[in-house]
């Protein structure tokens, strides 16, 4: 009580923030119980009938849901295989650049796309990939190939989604690895040089081990967002022609939930997504702790 009186200013100024988290984070979390109901807007939470796990059962019997779940998993997997390692490789290469001015210019340039919105990136890509005016098709054309309608065919959408993500964020992703690289003790390199190790060997035996903890942590964070590919990104690129391969859980939840007002069903999907994310983080964390002693918690 004494503490409360003495530091009342601290408690007082923290109040708006605490209220924010209660209202906009915990209230919706509590509202997620509608996943176990057959929610009716007119009856509200208390009047709507409880249906147990029916909504979840419904999920797994819908072929449409299964197709979208497959899309989400595949796109997440491609993103992990292709997009995750690129910032690490970039950072290692950038780290080898000795000319400070050149390095700074390069960093400024590769960070820039991170600050563009998905709508803008969508617009840029549509401009580049357009079958009539896009530069890629003009190049194809000059070599005598037929134009390809990249955004109108389902076979390209996943590559486009993963590729634009690489363009937007891989430069930005290097920041954290460059910070880790900056903490390497230069004496280690000196010692390695004396032992006759070349740069490749130094990288393998000094640089990579030092940034491994950072890589592990970034990987764990990435795993937690495995099913969370990002609504804004996908919604820009999908259309009726490519949606069979591009639609993910988030866009499905928006369409079926908010537009078609299937509230309980899509809340169940959303909860399922969050639970899977949590489980993946927990499994990943346990495994990495066993393997290397590194973990998020």
């Amino acid at each position: 009580m004494n503490n409360l009186r003495k530091y009342k200013v601290l408690y007082l100024i923290s109040l708006p923030g605490i209220i924010f988290f209660i209202v906009f984070k915990y209230l919706p979390l509590a509202g997620s119980v509608m996943a176990f109901q057959n929610y009716n807007i007119f009856k509200g939470f208390s009047g709507s009938p409880w249906v147990g796990l029916d909504q979840f059962r419904r999920m797994f019997t819908y072929p449409e849901f299964l197709r979208i779940f497959e899309n989400t998993v595949l796109i997440g997997l491609y993103d992990m295989v292709f997009a995750f390692p690129i910032p690490i490789i970039f950072a290692l290469l950038l780290n080898e650049v000795r000319k400070a001015v050149y390095k700074r210019i390069l960093q400024t340039v590769v960070y820039l796309p991170h600050f563009l919105s998905w709508i803008i990136i969508g617009g840029i890509m549509i401009g580049i990939l357009s079958p009539t005016t896009g530069i890629i098709n003009q190049i194809l054309n000059s070599f005598g190939f037929d134009p390809i309608y990249f955004l109108g065919e389902e076979s390209y959408i996943r590559s486009i989604l993963v590729g634009t993500g690489i363009w937007k964020d891989s430069g930005w992703g290097t920041i954290i690895y460059l910070a880790a690289l900056a903490s390497v003790n230069p004496e280690l390199y000196e010692a390695a040089k004396i032992d006759g190790a070349n740069r490749w060997k130094q990288t393998l035996s000094i640089t990579i081990p030092t940034i491994l903890p950072t890589i592990t942590i970034m990987f764990l964070l990435h795993i937690g967002n495995f099913l969370d590919f990002g609504f804004e990104r996908v919604f820009v690129f999908i259309n009726s022609l490519n949606e069979s391969h591009g639609d993910i859980l988030d866009t499905y939840i928006y369409r079926v939930g908010l537009i078609d007002q299937q509230y309980s069903y899509t809340t169940a999907i959303g909860l399922f997504k969050s639970v899977v994310g949590l489980l993946l983080v927990m499994i990943g964390n346990t495994l990495s702790k066993k393997a290397s002693g590194e973990g998020l918690y």
């Binding site: 708006p16 906009f24 080898e96 740069r199 908010l258």
Partner: protein, 287 residues
């Protein structure tokens, strides 16, 4: 062996330069198209430099009232929203950095939980609907007042400030508020600038919350209006803009409107770059 290293360096420089070009090339391509004539664009002549220089595309945009209005909405949201972001985030981050704040641990865990486990879209929608925020510009400001990630970065910055500063201020008889105002805040400029930039960019770029919660077209922020214009080709939602003008190509106008909406970011980017790298480092080392 020395030779080998030299070869690697050359290849590395060439490779990284190519990567750098890949990052700017699409933006330059868009810029070039936005200043080119319809015929040149349609004939596929435009690559990195404008062909048949024209400002017609920009005239179309500037003549469209709905784009102006959307631009103003976005500026308003970004300025007011960022201010509220900084006030809300700092006023919670600072107490969380102080040992004397006894409920520190509980609050930190509760916030961490919201980062790992997020409520689905519909329950969020219900809360916002019950608060009667639908079709109000506040919906783009209040529900995103604090980002947990930014909060942690700010907290670790405050934690790193030497506690002697606060002690000596209290010995000199300064109250908490006075300490915050005249000691903590002036020292926090770098972290405030970084967080301000992050928040401002996310306000400027976000469109999903407007898509979910705003139906009134008069309140559309720029990104949502942009979406109609840019994606009109593919989704068949031709904006009112393009129907009236026959002699201008949709592609040129689309590219021009992209450039217009990127300008604010290009303007603030160089000024704040030195700050955000510092800020990212604070965040990465501590959390």
């Amino acid at each position: 062996m020395k030779n080998k290293g030299r070869i690697f360096d050359v290849i590395n420089y060439i490779f990284l330069t190519l990567v750098g070009c890949m990052m700017v090339f699409p933006i330059l391509h868009v810029l070039a198209k936005s200043f080119s004539s319809t015929q040149a664009i349609n004939a596929g002549k435009v690559t990195l430099f404008p062909i048949d220089w024209t400002v017609m595309n920009y005239q179309v945009i500037l003549g469209d009232g709905s784009i102006w209005r959307a631009f103003m909405v976005s500026i308003l949201i970004t300025v007011v929203g960022t201010l509220i972001n900084l006030i809300f985030t700092a006023s919670l981050a600072y107490p969380l950095s102080r040992q004397e704040y006894s409920i520190r641990k509980v609050i930190l865990i509760l916030i961490l939980v919201t980062m790992i486990f997020q409520a689905p879209l519909i329950p969020n929608y219900m809360v916002i609907k019950n608060l009667q925020l639908i079709d109000s510009l506040w919906v783009l400001i209040i529900p995103s007042a604090i980002s947990a990630y930014n909060l942690f970065i700010m907290r670790s910055f405050f934690t790193a400030l030497p506690s002697e500063l606060i002690d000596s201020a209290s010995i000199d008889g300064a109250g908490e508020l006075r300490t915050i105002w005249s000691i903590i805040l002036p020292l926090s400029k770098p972290v405030m600038a970084t967080m301000g930039l992050f928040y401002a960019v996310s306000h400027w770029n976000s469109y999903s919350s407007a898509l979910y919660y705003i139906n009134d077209r008069a309140l559309y922020p720029l990104q949502l209006r942009l979406r109609e214009i840019v994606l009109s080709n593919d989704l068949g939602q031709a904006g009112s803009l393009l129907e009236n003008v026959n002699e201008v190509s949709p592609a040129g106008v689309q590219m021009a409107v992209i450039i217009v909406s990127v300008i604010p970011i290009i303007i603030v980017y160089p000024f704040l770059q030195k700050y955000f790298i510092k800020g990212m480092l604070i965040g990465s080392i501590k959390s």
